[in-house]
């Protein structure tokens, strides 16, 4: 009995203790829980960097800048121009699968739900955002040197101008976006093309002042003042400002130290050609260009595109470009031709070719046309002959303005075929689209500009109305 009582007492004592201890644990536990609210703070993921930190260091800032060119190269509006606008104009025949975006381009039956139209629009404005983001952040950066700031700002302004220029060329009136503020950008309105070019030129003028003739990279993959000038020359030409066009084109032509004329057609698209003003490097060493991959074929009938036979036939027989830049492949009966400007279809040990975006020949042709328009026939002829000489063609003598303009146009067609849609934009600016492309069954006058992506109209009614004809 005694044993029993002590056990009970012991139990009671323990129970009391227990209560106290339980309470203690509970309190400890709760305070612990409540006190560690910073438990839910996490460090950054390994693949991301704080945006402001990017612009404290020139290498990461350069990585941000380079992303724009990389995106531009990999399936953007600009990189697609050679292929899609070649189809849209009279340069390429399409043999790929029916019912594709490209077939619609080739047949001029593009509608506002076309996927390419939408993706061009979206990537272009995404890159414009990136450019604006760089402009805004570089402005606030205290760590970057003034020269680095100027280089980055100059490039960003150039990119913004360049993309808007093509947007206007392709879609007509579009918004000019200069901020990263999304609530503003979500409601932007279209501005007329003339007005938009003024904005483009304004940006380019500032960029011109910020950039020098020196390239950041010796391989000319990032824009310098020469690139800015080359684009300005083109825009002046497109907007009939002949004097200014000739002057701007002279910049690169006159800087012969940097841009040395080269008459070998076969080396023109090699990565170290001295007439290249701006080119894009491929993603990896050993890769070559998207153009080479898209145009060159080894079997017939071709699986994708071939040159329009009429284009091939339009060359003078002794034109060296016919032999150097075009290749044919026959099945015994029919011969199909492809653009052979870029000669590498696949990879090589070391990359041989880069995509050339601006080259010196264009500057000569711009100045030639501007001079002729401005009454300087002799100057114009001499610039034109620079190109004709290289192609092994006879020199053009002094003749009347209209004939010369026609010759220049033809020269542009042969010099720039399947390059960045030059053919289409030329026909467009001289109002020859209906005359030349009218032979295509799907062609309508309103096809001179593409439709705005239908989703964009729905989401931002300020973009209304849709372009005529869509």
């Amino acid at each position: 009995m005694k044993k029993y009582i002590t056990t009970v007492l012991k139990n009671k004592k323990t129970n009391g203790n227990l209560w106290f201890r339980s309470l203690l644990i509970f309190v400890c536990c709760s305070t612990f829980l409540l006190s560690c609210s910073d438990f839910v703070e996490v460090e950054l993921p390994s693949s991301q960097l704080n945006a402001d930190d990017i612009f404290t260091d020139i290498s990461s800032a350069n990585a941000a800048m380079a992303s724009i060119y990389a995106e531009m190269r990999d399936g953007s509006m600009v990189s697609d121009l050679s292929y899609q606008m070649g189809n849209y104009a009279d340069e390429l025949d399409y043999y790929g699968s029916m019912a594709s975006d490209t077939e619609d381009f080739n047949k001029n039956t593009v509608i506002s739900s076309n996927g390419t139209i939408k993706s061009w629009w979206n990537t272009a404005y995404n890159l414009i955002y990136s450019a604006n983001s760089i402009l805004e952040r570089v402005e606030n950066s205290k760590q970057l040197s003034t020269s680095d700031c100027n280089q980055l700002k100059g490039e960003a302004l150039f990119v913004r101008a360049y993309l808007h220029f093509y947007l206007a060329q392709l879609y007509g009136a579009v918004p000019y976006v200069t901020t990263t503020n999304y609530s503003e950008n979500a409601k932007v309105v279209k501005i007329p093309v003339d007005q938009l070019y003024l904005n483009v030129l304004e940006d380019l003028k500032v960029a011109e002042g910020l950039l020098g003739l020196e390239y950041v990279n010796p391989n000319r993959t990032r824009p310098n003042r020469g690139v800015v000038k080359a684009l300005m020359a083109r825009i002046y030409l497109y907007t009939d400002q002949w004097e200014a066009a000739a002057q701007a084109a002279s910049y690169c032509i006159n800087n012969t130290g940097t841009y040395t004329w080269n008459t070998n057609l076969n080396t023109l698209f090699l990565k170290d050609n001295t007439t290249t003003i701006w080119q894009w490097s491929p993603e990896f060493e050993g890769q070559n260009t998207n153009e080479g991959q898209a145009f060159i074929f080894f079997s017939v009938p071709p699986g994708n595109v071939a040159l329009n036979p009429e284009l091939v036939a339009s060359f003078e027989a002794n034109d060296l470009r016919l032999d150097g830049w075009i290749k044919g492949l026959s099945d015994g009966e029919t011969t199909w031709y492809y653009a052979y400007k870029y000669k590498e279809q696949g990879g090589t040990d070391v990359s041989r070719e880069y995509s050339v975006i601006f080259r010196l020949a264009e500057q000569y042709l711009i100045r030639s046309e501007a001079r002729v328009q401005n009454g300087d026939i002799e100057g114009g002829v001499s610039d034109l002959n620079k190109i004709r000489n290289r192609a092994g063609l006879s020199e053009v003598g002094v003749t009347d303005k209209a004939t010369l303009l026609k010759l220049i146009l033809e020269e542009r067609r042969h010099e720039y075929f399947t390059e960045l849609g030059h053919r289409f934009f030329d026909l467009k600016r001289i109002e020859q689209l209906d005359t030349v492309l009218g032979v295509k069954p799907g062609w309508n006058t309103t096809d001179r500009i593409l439709p705005l992506p239908e989703d964009e109209l729905l989401i931002n009614p300020n973009l209304e109305p849709q372009n005529k004809g869509y």
Binding site: I25, A64, S67, F298, G303, G346
Partner: protein, 1010 residues
């Protein structure tokens, strides 16, 4: 920085472990249930025989002396021996039987009969996650299915087992590709975010991530999201509970908005060691093909199309009609590409048993499934589950360890060819040349078999484990810690050798690509809890307080390689010239909470349940990380009221209601940060960085308010049981990627939108036992759910970017389309309503008709019939819904590509009454643009309601005496055997138009228990 976190995490772990496992036990370990009275002198040996009501011996039943830890089990004759005194009370228990208490008395031999416990709600408890609750005292809305329901289905995914069986839970299968996923919606769509509507999955107390693992580069082979729930083998599951209302889900706070799915795996049962072996083999196939045109009809269509367009010379690339291809050839591409049969093999085995204080279970399973494609592809799965329970003799300290490890291996063609089944012309060329190589017919087509040159492989290894420690120092007070760890490793790769291309293009192995994707999820969770229970005569109360610390780390590495010297080296990175790292990322998610529950009952009739949670999540920016959630649930067991006692036919009656708030944090990690991301691209030799997103640091939780009222009634001794529930849930503060125009640079921004979404509806469950006697029983369960989803308010919808996606008062899952007004019998053109009467049909102004995709109602009827050893279980699932018509995705009739036969009902000349426009090759822009409008009109919506024999299981248990103690059952199981529908497409259930439909399967198997 990182070090600091590691140290802190370790401290937390140590601390909690210390307190609850070692700490508590050593502190209070001296307090044990001591048997004070030494009554050994009076003890005598008794023998007992335990049988069920049929007189069959019950083996393995637990026999214990009340108030002591002395006990034993019955042997296989149902006999036990025990030392006891005449005043002792014996407690007999066995699963499936009512607990029996008898006083030993003076006799030395006892004959005891256990009563089967089938409908006794009082004994049935339901798992509610942090606590369990007696079915009759439940205040919340919980649906559940048991192992018995799961085992009769020949499926591999847990979600498949729930289809048609739970009211309010809508599940659809993404595709019939082995290893593909499911979509689940519990009581409708609550979030505007399409990926923000997943429920929270808890496996044995451990949250299980359903974050998708695939990569854009490798993931084409399996449509939809590869669901990590494949890691759980259905045969290892003991029960699945779905928590639906606020009362049940508020304790899960910010993660409870879309409901909670609790998966509990099987545990060992005390008694003789039991073995189970099972094997099933079966076949699966695509049950239904589309009614497509044959060559004659097809070519007639093509020729007519060109004639209609005024084109006399067929274009060079119109190979099907211009004479390039044999005009008499016919191939049924559906049959060729998806017409095979798939083998389904399952093998399971388990060992379980244990003593009164320690029980164990080991369960292994193997599953193999081949595809319906041509070629040798297979999905293999191997799983091992184990469970160990131990309690001290005084049952105060308990340990429960569960661990499950699964290995999956899936081989498939690397790319999808589902569109080929209808896009290929029926007279497309032969697959092979005479020499056995792929036929490219002079580069005039893309041979669909080239897809089989590509290959896809995925490997998943996953571990889910949980350790539960509990200590009950005094009656009613319990300390508990749940420690969970999951590890999920996913690897998949897609190989695209150059042989996939037409050899004429002379593409060499330099252009062969290999894509690899490695994903690793790792998470731990610690949940310390204290609960206290107290009874004061008529008043009972329970209190639970706990906390959660969770951390999840996920990493992904995606790379592509190309430039191989030979295709035989494809996939080996060292042999590649180019290696591109597309993604190399690691993300962390941390989660912290404190939760509690207070439950009180009065007179066993009135119940109040209050639950709450304070949550913190790393997915939100500073100052937005924490929020509170809570709910109250009440129940009134009115059948217990004395004034209803005379109502004999009413055996059970309960009215319950609940109201509360939950939240949703499914927005992905780091969305509030302004960062640049390494995109994986490079330029000029440097890895580039691009802006990650438009950022908004100030978004916060989505809030979801739930209301439910339900009545549960049982009649005629609960043989007829009816539950009617009404719910109304409202979600506000919608956290969405608000779509933005492209001019902003991005397509959306993360922000809270002041929109309210309502889901309200009714759920009915009727269970009846028509017959129930020794030899024959028949029971039926019927469930029906009617849910109405509605956008209640959305200030500024008209001017917002959502104005064309949503309409106030309408469900979220709609499309605004043109209103089809029929075919003009004079012109043969489709006509549409011009809503604003401007004589123009514009997307912006005339797409005012609304098509709705949510089901009107859905449910299932399940029957279980048993006659002696034979049992038949079958479930009919029914859904009333609309889907896009079969022809919707096929393109315009007349272009290259096959069509449904019904498209032949086209207009030919004025006066024709037809369904479809004339054929066109695409050159007629009027026909083409009208066709496009038609495909964006309400004409392409079809009734896709169906009634489907979802599964049937017939099993026969051989009489026990034949196999001497071995229970043997032979089972025949079927899935999707019959479908009644008017739908013209492949399958009315399939989520994606271009994916393999869920397969029809029939398997036979044998099960042995001994």
């Amino acid at each position: 920085m990182q070090k600091r976190y590691i140290i802190r995490d370790k401290c937390i772990l140590l601390f909690t472990l210390l307190i609850f496992s070692i700490g508590t036990y050593s502190l209070f370990g001296n307090v044990r249930g001591v048997n004070f009275f030494d009554l050994a002198a009076y003890q005598h040996r008794i023998k007992g025989v335990v049988t069920d009501s049929d007189g069959t011996p019950v083996q393995g039943a637990s026999v214990r002396l009340k108030g002591t830890s002395t006990g034993t089990f019955t042997n296989n004759e149902g006999v036990f021996y025990l030392e006891a005194t005449p005043t002792d009370v014996l407690i007999l228990s066995y699963i499936g039987f009512k607990k029996l208490e008898v006083i030993v008395g003076s006799s030395e031999e006892l004959s005891l009969v256990l009563e089967e416990d089938v409908t006794d709600l009082g004994a049935v408890t339901v798992n509610a996650g942090y606590y369990s609750v007696k079915e009759r005292e439940r205040t919340g809305s919980i649906s559940s299915i048991s192992a018995a329901d799961i085992e009769e289905q020949p499926v591999t995914n847990v979600l498949a087992t729930m289809q048609g069986r739970m009211p309010g839970v809508y599940i659809t299968q993404d595709s019939g590709v082995p290893g593909s996923g499911f979509q689940i919606q519990i009581r409708g769509q609550n979030s505007l975010r399409s990926d923000g509507n997943m429920p929270l999955y808890i496996v044995d107390g451990v949250p299980f991530t359903t974050q998708s693992m695939e990569s854009f580069y490798t993931g084409e082979a399996v449509p939809g999201i590869i669901n990590p729930l494949n890691n759980i083998d259905p045969t290892s599951i003991a029960s699945i509970e779905v928590l639906k209302d606020a009362d049940a889900t508020a304790i899960y706070g910010s993660r409870g908005a879309n409901g909670v799915v609790l998966i509990t795996t099987k545990k060992g049962v005390a008694g003789k060691t039991r073995f189970q072996i099972g094997y099933t083999y079966g076949l699966g196939r695509v049950a239904n093909f589309m009614d497509l045109m044959d060559t004659n009809t097809y070519l007639e269509m093509r020729r007519e199309a060109y004639a209609n367009d005024g084109i006399i010379t067929y274009p060079a690339n119109a190979y099907d009609v211009n004479g390039t291809w044999d005009q008499n050839r016919y191939t049924d591409w559906q049959e060729v590409l998806i017409g095979g049969t798939s083998d389904i093999i399952d093998a399971t085995g388990s060992v379980s048993g244990g003593s009164e204080h320690t029980q164990f279970l080991v369960n292994g399973n193997y599953h193999k499934e081949t595809t319906v494609y041509p070629g040798d592809y297979a999905y293999n799965k191997f799983g091992l589950n184990s469970s160990i329970n131990h309690s001290t003799r005084d049952e105060k300290f308990k340990v429960h360890l569960t661990a499950g490890y699964t290995i999956q291996n899936n081989n498939l063609p690397g790319l999808s060819f589902m569109t080929d089944i209808y896009q290929l012309a029926p007279n497309a060329p032969a697959l092979y040349q005479e020499d056995g190589t792929l036929n490219w017919e002079n580069s005039s087509w893309e041979n669909p078999y080239s897809v089989f040159e590509t290959s896809y492989e995925s490997k998943t290894n996953s571990l889910i484990s949980n350790l539960l420690l509990s200590y009950e120092p005094i009656d009613g007070l319990e300390f508990k810690t749940s420690l969970g760890y999951t590890n999920n490793q996913f690897f998949d790769q897609m190989l695209r050798p150059s042989t996939v291309y037409d050899p004429a293009y002379e593409i060499t192995s330099e252009f062969s690509n290999a894509y690899k994707n490695q994903v690793h999820f790792n998470s731990w969770i610690v949940e310390p809890q204290v609960s206290y229970k107290k009874e004061f005569s008529a008043f009972k109360t329970q209190l639970l307080v706990g906390g959660t610390f969770q951390k999840q780390v996920s990493s992904q590495l995606v790379h592509s390689t190309s430039g191989y010297a030979s295709n035989s080296l494809l996939g080996n990175m060292t042999a590649a010239s180019f290696i591109n790292i597309a993604t190399d990322d690691q993300t962390k998610y941390k989660y912290n909470a404190i939760f509690g529950r207070l439950n009180t009952s009065l007179f066993n009739r009135y119940f109040i349940n209050i639950t709450g949670r304070r949550d913190g999540s790393s997915r939100f920016g500073p100052g937005r990380q924490f929020a509170n959630f809570g709910a109250i649930g009440i129940a009134w067991l009115f059948s217990e009221e004395s004034w209803l006692e005379n109502l004999n036919f009413l055996s059970y009656g309960k009215l319950r209601a609940s109201y509360g708030t939950t939240g949703n944090d499914q927005i992905g990690d780091y969305q509030y940060l302004d960062t640049y991301t390494i995109s994986g691209n490079s330029y000029n030799g440097i890895a580039v960085m691009e802006p990650s997103r438009l950022f908004n640091p100030s978004f916060s939780w989505e809030e979801n308010k739930k209301l439910e009222v339900a009545m549960e009634t049982g009649f005629i001794k609960d043989r007829l049981f009816l539950t009617v529930a009404y719910f109304k849930n409202r979600s506000s503060n919608q956290l969405v990627g608000i779509p933005l125009p492209g001019t902003t640079g991005f397509s959306s921004i993360q922000a809270n939108l002041n929109a309210t979404i309502e889901n309200k509806g009714w759920e009915f469950t009727l269970r009846s036992e028509q017959f129930k006697n020794e030899d024959f029983s028949w029971s039926t369960t019927f469930n029906l759910s009617v849910n109405r989803n509605r956008l209640v308010s959305f200030p500024g919808l008209e001017t917002s970017t959502y104005s064309n996606s949503y309409v106030i008062g309408e469900p979220l899952n709609i499309s605004k389309v043109y209103q089809y007004e029929g075919l003009d019998s004079q012109t043969g053109l489709y006509q549409f309503k011009d809503f604003n009467d401007d004589d123009l049909l514009t997307r912006e102004n005339d797409r005012e008709a609304i098509i709705r995709f949510d089901p009107d109602f859905f449910g299932g009827i399940q029957n279980s019939i048993r006659y002696k050893g034979l049992s038949v279980d079958f479930l009919f699932q029914f859904v009333k819904q609309d889907r896009y018509t079969g022809e919707h995705s096929m393109g315009m009739a007349g272009r290259m590509g096959n069509q449904l036969n019904l498209l032949q009902d086209r207009w030919k000349q004025p006066g024709d009454i037809a369904t479809f426009q004339p054929y066109s090759s695409g050159a007629n822009s009027e026909l083409r643009s009208r066709y496009l409008n038609y495909s964006q009109s309400n004409a392409v919506l079809d009734d896709a309601s169906f009634i489907r024999l979802k599964n049937i299981a017939i099993s026969y248990q051989l009489p026990r005496n034949i196999l001497h103690g071995v229970t043997c059952s032979i089972v025949l199981k079927g899935q999707n055997l019959l479908t009644f529908t008017d739908y013209e497409g492949l399958d009315p259930e399939a989520n994606f138009t271009n994916s393999l439909p869920p397969l029809q399967a029939l398997t036979t198997g044998i099960q042995l228990h001994f």
